[in-house]
């Protein structure tokens, strides 16, 4: 098998995996939330209701692709594409197993941070071009939240980078052979995970959407498949955050050898995804100023202290 063919297979495989995971996650989330709320969730379409997202997708595709006359048309169309694009791009650097990675960048962590920051453009552009006051409020909240949480999301990862001595994700995984980073870098993990959930604007940090106060915020004017793109982008984002957390803190593909590396990676990712869904099911949304307060007053100092302590132990 030639090197080019191998690379293509990996690229197509990762995209196909993500595109199957996204609708699967929609089903999984609805089922799990149902169970956690003493309901049963969608269980009508197909066995266990697994074709429910398919039915939803067909519905979304056949909906009228309506653009409000007051919207800024090119930007309005661009915004949902940016979500999906950035979510896909950041998956390029995550190693699923030794050698199975789309782009083994030596600045992988930076690339991830850059792509997840680019994701905010989707919210800002979508909210701005909708020309709707709720959307604009959502976009502004989104921008402020992203800027706040971006800061210490990066800082919290630096501990891991210092311990591995590399920005390359494969090397970070290999550096965890003795012990997963979640143990020595527990504070970093907690800060990163909170920041990551906020960065994805997943519940409980869905302040840009906040359907109970901003009627879906930045995407209230979207319908049909453009709305579907925001949805798919969000679920790929969840997968991406879970995969990245696995790689950085839970030893990526490492695990007992009775399962192949990729199975361990997918298993850990799945567990983190379930935990993200559980967060949605259990926690209330904080107020906007509370979110900012947590960010600047607690999490930022915490990540800096974590960085200093890590540095002290490494240089001692």
């Amino acid at each position: 098998m030639s090197e080019t063919l191998r690379l293509w297979l990996i690229v197509v495989g990762v995209i196909a995996l993500l595109l199957t995971i996204a609708p699967g996650l929609i089903w999984l989330e609805r089922r799990l939330l149902g169970w956690w709320q003493d309901r049963k969730g969608p269980n009508r379409v197909g066995p266990f209701g697994i074709f429910q997202p398919l039915a939803d997708a067909i519905k979304l595709i056949f909906k009228e692709d309506w653009i409000p006359p007051f919207a800024d048309k090119p930007v309005f169309i661009l915004a949902p594409a940016v979500v999906v694009f950035t979510a896909f791009m950041s998956y390029a650097i995550i190693p699923l197993a030794p050698g199975i990675v789309v782009a083994d960048l030596n600045i992988g962590v930076l690339f991830f941070l850059a792509m997840s920051s680019l994701g905010v453009y989707a919210i800002v552009l979508g909210g701005w071009s909708s020309n709707n006051k709720y959307s604009l409020l959502g976009a502004m909240r989104g921008a402020a939240q992203m800027i706040t949480y971006e800061v210490f999301m990066g800082i919290s990862l630096l501990g891991v980078v210092m311990m591995a001595g590399s920005f390359n994700l494969s090397e970070i995984v290999l550096a965890q052979q003795g012990m997963w980073n979640v143990v020595p870098q527990f504070v970093g993990f907690v800060v990163f995970f909170i920041a990551g959930v906020a960065e994805l604007h997943r519940l409980p940090f869905d302040i840009p959407e906040a359907e109970s106060e901003l009627i879906a915020g930045y995407h209230s004017e979207y319908s049909g498949m453009k709305f579907g793109m925001f949805f798919v982008g969000e679920y790929i984002g969840v997968t991406m955050l879970a995969g990245f957390t696995t790689t950085m803190f839970f030893g990526g593909w490492l695990g007992p050898s009775f399962l192949p590396g990729i199975a361990w990676f997918l298993l850990k990712t799945f567990a983190i995804i379930v935990f993200i869904i559980l967060l949605r099911g259990s926690l209330p949304r904080p107020r906007y100023d509370q979110l900012m307060g947590y960010g600047w007053k607690i999490l930022l100092p915490l990540s800096l202290i974590n960085l200093m302590v890590t540095g002290y132990f490494l240089l001692r």
Partner: protein, 171 residues
């Protein structure tokens, strides 16, 4: 911080709790007998219509979904010539049942009344009239009321004394 973890845990263990969902079309559930569903017209124990066409239900109806026309048979019994309920308007409030002086109109625990054609939601008297007595057994308006009808004169009802002859001085 601990309370956050606690609430996450509490939600998580709900995964293993019994689900309260009733999967309705596959799984039927018992409605209480006083559930306000489909409206029926009942008959008295002798098999005659209970409705006397007093229009009180039509008056009480807040959405004006009841239409009827009273008439009399050869015995002097009043009964509705037609009785029509438009169920696409009905809000199942039960005011007609409360207004009815003869227990004729009753709401029963049945709600499966979907139709493809809206005109099929209009129920005529033959659709509404049932053969039984509904929720209130053994009541016959004509047997206990003081009205004189064919075959029963004044004073012949249950628990009714014969009328007093006001022209006579005898005790």
């Amino acid at each position: 911080m601990l309370s956050i973890l606690e609430s996450i845990w509490i939600v998580f263990i709900r995964l293993f709790s019994k689900k309260i969902t009733v999967e309705y079309p596959d799984e039927q559930f018992r409605l209480p007998p006083r559930y306000r569903g489909r409206i029926v017209l009942t008959r008295d124990p002798d098999g005659g219509e209970r409705c006397v066409g007093c229009y009180l239900c039509a008056v009480a109806c807040p959405v004006d979904c009841i239409a009827l026309q009273a008439t009399e048979d050869e015995n002097g019994r009043r009964y509705p010539e037609f009785f029509r309920i438009n169920f696409s308007r009905c809000i199942y409030c039960g005011f007609c049942e409360e207004a009815c002086p003869t227990y004729a109109i009753q709401l029963i625990p049945d709600f499966e009344m979907s139709e493809y054609l809206r005109s099929n939601m209009v129920y005529e008297k033959e659709d509404l009239l049932i053969d039984g007595e509904g929720k209130y057994h053994g009541y016959n308006y004509w047997r206990v009321s003081g009205m004189a009808i064919g075959g029963k004169d004044k004073g012949e009802s249950e628990r009714e004394d014969p009328p007093i002859d006001i022209k006579s001085l005898l005790p």
